[in-house]
Symmetry: C4
Subunit: 231 residues, 4 copies
């Protein structure tokens, strides 16, 4: 089971780099095995070119390494907070992808300006608040997870599968590591589109709600008809 | 005949991805055989890498699948509306290409600012209105086609081979699937150029009409002299 | 001699596409043999992938085809005007490269904002005026050349190896076809840099003249010391 | 030793081009052997494709060539000034990378707007002043180095491993040539992100200092825990 998860997480990390979402080692993907509560994650600061599936690090819910010779990603505590708070997710991705990070740095949520966005994120992509000095001292990475969860106190992590951490960069998630990577790519594209649309019309209104809902539902609702029937 | 059309449509879909106009599965090309009135189109939500010509789905003018094991693109009803209203076209393309979608999301037509535009689109690239809630309920995809056709009530689909659907993304068309793909690429490039020109000069005037006409005519008019003689 | 020139022109056309300066067939390179006054140029509307050296078309100073089965580029009369007016040039390039065309469409010259520019273009990259309806009728492509030459009445084509045609796109030139292609790439890069710098500072001043001159002279002046000694 | 350094410098130059930071020959990397005080540097104006390790030029602290058949980069005196003033650095890189050069041309420092920046540069990326006419005459390239050093009179070259030369382009450095190249890539990415963030919010505040410090320290401080333990 864990071998399978490590392969999945490895492949998802490779895919993340292949999509051009990663500069140097600025990105990491993890996946969770909900039965054993073990998480496999990319090792910290390791090059995407030289990495293999066996380099993936396995940690328990407290972040203790249970398998692997390398240190896990320094962002592991953030991933663990997300798995704890969002029980339906199976994979988490963190990148510093360019356009999503532009919005994160500007502390601006990404409004839903079109159907590309509405197809995948129900409502705007939210931004967290900044961490306080006390929170940074108390555990920077776990508190990064906590302020994401705080931001989602009135949001649904299933229909909004990502967030911008203020002054930092995006986190996305999904049912498994591959889906989380796909959401990371989608977020980057809608960020780039939104930047251009805002430049063309600084007072741009959001997409009318009846169209937002239609697009989200045709892909993700109970009567979804986009794509092929699930086997 | 249909085998030939399926190959053409398949190749045009591959070409669309090769031009960088497609993220994930956000794009589809169709082609029509005017004698049998059958349309071949990309299957819905299928990956461009694994797709083959035999995966293309053939539908009749009402959208009923007459050949193929997969579901057709969810945008099929939009394509069918366009084939019905524009009798001279042989191929239709839908993408969420980045720059054209920026204009679509900003509900701004692309003005003709230069000869790159004038060479291929006669006049601005128009934007549709938004669908009403009633239209969305009555059939989102076919109504998307209907508001495109409505927008062309006083436009000529032959000299303006594309449109921006408000809050959504572009549709283009052409004499055959390959030409429709080419128009999709051209639209993306003129959108990118226009964005930059507008940023350099927010009050930019359109290209003088005598130059617009000259460029369009030298490529597409009765005395066109661009390119090689048609054999 | 002409065989050699055709090869050179062919290779320069390939290089132009390799640099990403060409979409579809929007670009052409020519070269001149000053002794015979013959010009080799890309055929009109032919795909860069399928083109060979033997497809290059050879024309005399009046534009009459003296060798080759295909039609020459429709922009041939523009190239010929430039060869006539600028006796020191050996190659001409026309593209619709994205960033240079943004400035051309905005009818804005590219000011010299930095050393990248100053290294290669002495002073701003100028913009022509628009053609009048009469000039368009009298011969669009040759008049495009004439207004470029008119714009250079008080400029030096050797130290300013390129121009933006208003509402259209750039032309560049050089001592031979390869140099003209290099100038086309340089122009595209300085256009992109200038757009960003102008966005960061709309009232940006030009680079101080003593630095402009220093950079141009260290590369192109009588005591140039950039690069290797010419053999 | 020098053979090893030449290989390192060669590989770093190749890497610089591979990262897309170089157009034509606009970039150079050098490395220093602190024991012999010899510097290996890219030859001037030589193509990245045809270059080999044996083409690297070795100069002494006065810039005299002690090994190699080609001329060293015309920017060699700038590199030498930096090695003289910053005793802890082992590699220097100069590029005209697009986004960093946009800021250099606009004479705007890059403010620390996010953690991507804070992870690698402690505080803003500074801009130099312009050279005076007298300084240009007295030795353009060595004075370029001197005004960088002047700018760092109250800055720490270890925690701020790069600079923008006003109206010109960036220089970066590091413990060895490969690190200097990495800092060049990082600078380009944070410049691009900053441009977008500034466009989204022209009055954007800098990242709160407690987060800036946390990010810099977790990667570079005495208790750094990012990446793997050094062997």
């Amino acid at each position: 089971m864990i071998e399978q998860l490590k392969k999945e997480v490895f492949r998802a990390n490779v895919e993340l780099a292949r999509h051009g979402l990663v500069t140097l080692t600025w990105g990491n993907v993890s996946g969770i095995d909900r039965s054993s509560r073990l998480v496999a994650i990319k090792p910290s600061g390791v090059d995407y070119q030289s990495m293999t599936a066996s380099d993936m690090v396995v940690v328990d819910p407290d972040g203790k390494v249970v398998e692997g010779k390398l240190r896990p990603s320094s962002d592991t505590p953030t991933h663990l907070e997300l798995y704890r708070a969002f029980p339906s997710i199976g994979g988490v991705v963190h990148t510093h992808s360019l356009y999503a990070s532009m919005f994160a740095q500007a502390c601006r949520e990404i409004p839903c300006l079109g159907t590309t966005h509405a197809d995948h994120f129900n409502g705007p992509v939210p931004v967290t608040r900044f961490l306080t000095p006390e929170e940074v001292d108390a555990g920077y990475e776990s508190w990064t997870g906590k302020i994401i969860v705080e931001r989602f106190s009135d949001l649904n992590s299933t229909v909004t599968p990502g967030v911008l951490v203020a002054g930092h960069a995006p986190f996305t998630w999904g049912g498994n590591p591959a889906d989380a990577v796909e959401n990371s790519l989608i977020l980057e594209r809608i960020a780039q589109m939104a930047l251009g649309s805002i430049q063309l019309n600084p007072d741009i209104p959001v997409l009318p709600m009846h169209i937002q809902q239609k697009h989200y539902q045709r892909k993700h609702g109970p009567d979804a008809y986009y794509g092929q029937k699930k086997p």
